[in-house]
Amino acid sequence: MKVEYRTITDISGPLVFMEATEAVGYGEVVDIHLSDGTTKRGQVLDTSQEIIVVQVFEGTAGIDHEATVKFLGESVKVNLSKEMIGRILSGAAKPIDGGPPVPPDKRQDIIGSPINPYARARPKEFIETGISTIDGMNTLVRGQKLPIFSGSGLPHNKVALQLARQAKVLGEVEEFAVVFAAMGITSEEAQVFMNDFERTGALKRAVVFLNLANDPAIERLITPKIALTTAEYLAFELDMHVLVILTDMTNYCESLRQIGAAREEVPGRRGYPGYMYTDLAMIYERAGRIKGKKGTITQIPIISMPDDDITHPIPDLSAYITEGQLIVSRELHRKAIYPPIDISPSLSRLMNAGIGKGITREDHNQVSSQCYAAYAEGRELRSLVAIVGKEALSDRDLALLDFADEFEDRFVRQKEEEDRSITETLELAWDMLSKLPEDLLTKIDTQTIKKFHPKHRSENKK
């Protein structure tokens, strides 16, 4: 029988300090019983023979010296079951859709142990998302973690939804699930997601965890971990391919800072704790493929960059961990281009493993580098035109300038329901590249030009 203690000394922000009366393990879960009969859950952050510090997930409101604390002798665990699919749960995995509790087919620690790098299999299965800027330029593969960096007021949620709807692996019909974890998003935003999930039938294959803006901030610290523990169960024990969408990681980091401040820790950059990199890595690194297992976990975290600043610690540290990033651009959004993904700062690090001969097409890599280079040059010329006017440009510069415009208008822009195949995407790219003088195509080798350049292709036919 677990004993309850009434030894709380201090309460400060989300933390409760109490005198130690028995040996309590670091990271242990506690239940705090309030005098009004409610129970709050917390976790031990610091333990010694004198003082124990507990962080309370549901906020410290209502806790007083009279509250009793019970140590459960285990770390934070979550019930897992296949039945979770199709359910809507709170940020702490309690049902909020009126359904029954999740049956505990398995109970699992939410921290998760790191995957042995030696046990990982290399992600290389191309995911066709139907979005040209992703498939053609920043290819996503199964087992990758590719965040969307955005700003307030930008349509990142629409992009994420389109991804969740259209993502598929060519020529395969396999069990597929979406784990959706919302951290501190507004109920309106949540509603948009839920409506879309219901409309497209995606909810039937989704597990939804909702921690809304008015839910306790500290609960957010466990929401992504619960979601990923669920994803790991579905992927590595039930052999499913799981797409995890985490939105919005910025809110998660804010909570992390809050805890750090409450514990009076030495802050790192902009007040965020010095261990934020490690903490984020413990979340993002829970994506991947494992040798000998069928399932995979692909992660798409959404991060809203404060003031669109990519050097802000949250996007910055994330990008150092994730395998690339997709940037939603305000400039493109203002030009009414959807999806406003700016390819220049975007990147997919695992692209090379997932494209090329036998997977997409042999010219994919070179076509994409060429588009990148030409678009970047064209964009640079725009600022020149603003000063000296088009007249001062050479024919070659004019061609690049046109390329950049056309690229945004035809390649980047597509409809919300438009699902372009990879061949369509590559053909579209060639169509635009073929309008450039051929000597500008320095990133494509001669054989590839002969084989795929529309001009040579028509010659080949003759």
Partner: protein, 581 residues
Amino acid sequence: MISKTGEVQRVAGPVVTAIGISPRMYDVVFVGNDRLMGEVIRISGNKSIIQVYEETTGVCPGEPIEDTGQPLSVELGPGLITSIYDGIQRPLPGIMDLQGTNISRGTSIEGLSRTKTWKFVPAVEKGTSVLPGQSIGTVAETPHLEHKIMIPSAFKPGIISEISEGDFKVDQTIATMDNGQEIQLMQKWPVRIPRPYSEKLMPDIPLITGQRVLDFFFPIAKGGTAAIPGGFGTGKTVTQHQLAKWSDSDVVVYVGCGERGNEMTEVLTEFPELEDQRTGAKLSLRTVLIANTSNMPVAAREASIYTGMTIAEYYRDMGLSISMMADSTSRWAEAMREISSRLEEMPGEEGYPAYLSSKLSEFYERAGRVKTLDHNEGAISVIGAVSPQGGDFSEPVTQGTLRIVKVFWALDTKLREKRHFPAVNWLNSYSLYSETLADWFSQNVARDWPNLVQWAVNTLQREAELQEIVQLVGSDALPDEERLILEVARMIREFFLQQDAFHDIDSYCKIENQYRLMKCIKDFNDRISVALGAGISFDKILGLQSREELSKAKYEDDFDGYLDQVMEHLQMECRLWEESK
């Protein structure tokens, strides 16, 4: 007798306070009922502060602590090559056999296999008097690597009283000395202490990497130090991988320190397939990998850099040339910061501990070309990636590193966005070895190597100046000579500097080919200069077929043959101009 066991007093994340033991600084201790490995990092009164290399969840005050009385050490001997270790030299395949696909806690596995046998061939006879560090025989660790078995440097000099050829396990005695010391194939060395050598030498031989921008413009010497700082996505890891694949070293020690799991997987799957340029053997047969990914315990990340360096020093002592890649030193610095903040130390800049820069110097100073105790020449070249926060090079880790290293390969986000790879900024980067290595290049590659480099640097420098004018008036307003400079600089950038790491042929460019390619670009420049002087209009130059052909030279298998053709073609095109006049 000092007490060897005590108890846990406090647990806060990876930092544990113990009472009841009186360890020395940096002693290894085992914490709690699960016997988690840790290291004493501060002693304060009767309390010992310990950083634990594993996750501490569940550890309670009152659990036992055991002091081993030994500092953190690695096992050195045959079997290191092809191994993949975590930050404290536990073999990851072994951990997988014991625990499955995920790493849980409290495993202790030896760094070197105790069951495998190696054939030892003595090089000295009974009765030989030997000194510490002296080699007494060899083991063929790989078909191309003679692993020298050396007298541990902590031993006293003596006379070999017994030595025999045969198959041995690493912990079996292969020789004994008259003073009773027994020599095994394996020895241990504490990671935080540099291994001794007899003297340091000046590095004056280049480490050829096959990467044009590095070898030609900013070469690193064998035994030199280089830093690759760059914001995310600028290609630090790809550059490190390229160096690990192509650099002409005998052994490569690759430390993945706090980086991505999938990237380590890439190395693990690629290296056994790729061939070593020099020997034709698989690349994995010269590589030791240390993988402590970002989600593995932070204290072990701090140790991983030292583990890697000690292994590199061990091979150096055999008279070999080693490349050590540390990707990324920023994660290492962050690990120090994290531990320091748990210790509630007074922070320096950006929360990093005040001793950050002295730790960085100590680390890089372990690189170098040396005369070993055994009178051979060995070298460790260290290439450290730096991941500055927000891509800002003024941050403490980048600055602390730049004060020590001799080569600076600055990666640039702007270049990355244009897909100019490797995104090494040619204006900001530098190599302090350029001058010392110029002699080597002129003797071994071509007499005019230094002049050609200088010409290329000047052209790029002029381009940067002219670009500022072009931004205001457009390129058409420039005189033809200056437009030519812009055009030639563009050729240097696109035909020479850009190199495709994922292209079968372009991935590695021989040093002779680097010279030839740049020479051709200069020839092109010289010929066109003459033509311009003779009144040919600039627009015609852009239409030259041979210019376009030159752009593809780097992708050609028959490099010399192809360039011969291109240059002939150029000559012909120039002749046509003259005739048409």
